[in-house]
């Protein structure tokens, strides 16, 4: 039994050698220091801190948007992308930031919308609030 343990520890140790080597090779690479998707994800506190310069976009279906949304938010979902996009682009401020949210952590509509805004419309400074409407509401009642 001892022998098994010793072997396991030896293997765990062995794997460190190339790993450290590779990590050294990547040292200083900015992508290592911050989560790449993080560049596009924002915490609620951070987004609120941006104040008026933020254009909030609600990626949920329109019934959910109608029954409550972040104040000032515009609706932009892929159900009616072409119909909703013009109003968004007319309101968008070139120097401002865009924050997209959907229902909750597990939804990914916000990521889809943010990606299309970046890739197709070429907007910069598009962020996703991962906690979504759920997080916003939890904080509103606090």
């Amino acid at each position: 039994m001892r022998g098994v343990l010793r072997q396991a520890v030896l293997l765990i140790g062995l794997a460190f050698l190339p790993a450290i080597g590779q990590a050294l090779y990547f040292r200083g690479n900015p992508a290592v220091l911050a989560k790449p998707a993080d560049a596009h994800e924002v915490t609620l506190a951070e987004a609120k801190g941006w104040g008026q310069s933020v254009l909030w976009l609600d990626a949920r279906p329109h019934e959910e948007f109608d029954s409550g949304h972040v104040p000032g938010a515009l609706s932009l979902n892929e159900d009616d992308w072409n119909g909703l996009l013009p109003a968004v682009l007319a309101t968008w401020k070139p120097a401002g930031k865009v924050v997209v949210y959907c229902s909750r952590k597990s939804c990914n509509a916000s990521h889809g919308v943010a990606e299309r805004l970046r890739n197709e419309a070429g907007l910069k400074n598009v962020y996703v609030l991962p906690g979504g409407w759920e997080e916003w509401e939890e904080n509103a009642h606090r």
């Binding site: 098994v4 072997q7 293997l11 794997a15 790993a19 690479n29 989560k35 993080d38 952590k105």
Partner: protein, 136 residues
Amino acid sequence: MRIVRLILALLVGAVFLYAGALKVMDPLRFASDISNYALLSWSLGVRLAFYLPWLEIILGLALIFQRLFAGAIVLTGGLILLFVGATIWARAQGIDVSCGCFGTVSSNLTLTWHLVLNGGLFLALGALWFLRPVAA
């Protein structure tokens, strides 16, 4: 018996070697896969992303060449349990993750297949444990 052991060890070892090699080539992608599970902070996840693929490669090699054999079997089994636990946890949280186990190759793996594959590997490891040369 030796031939069964050889085949099983080659099989499991190759899977781990393959999985490790795929991820070792793009540790940053693997780091972002890990972060999708929302279990670890980014700084911890990125360290794991540099380490885990190498551990898989070393374990794969150890299994294939049957060196440090018993230790490799136990560690590999432990890793599989860890992976399965993380996948089930993520699914229970409603997080839609591609498991990241085989880099980009795994993005179409469903949960069931994932469990079947891991279960199969685990069974093979169990068999290997009993078939291992005790004298070694």
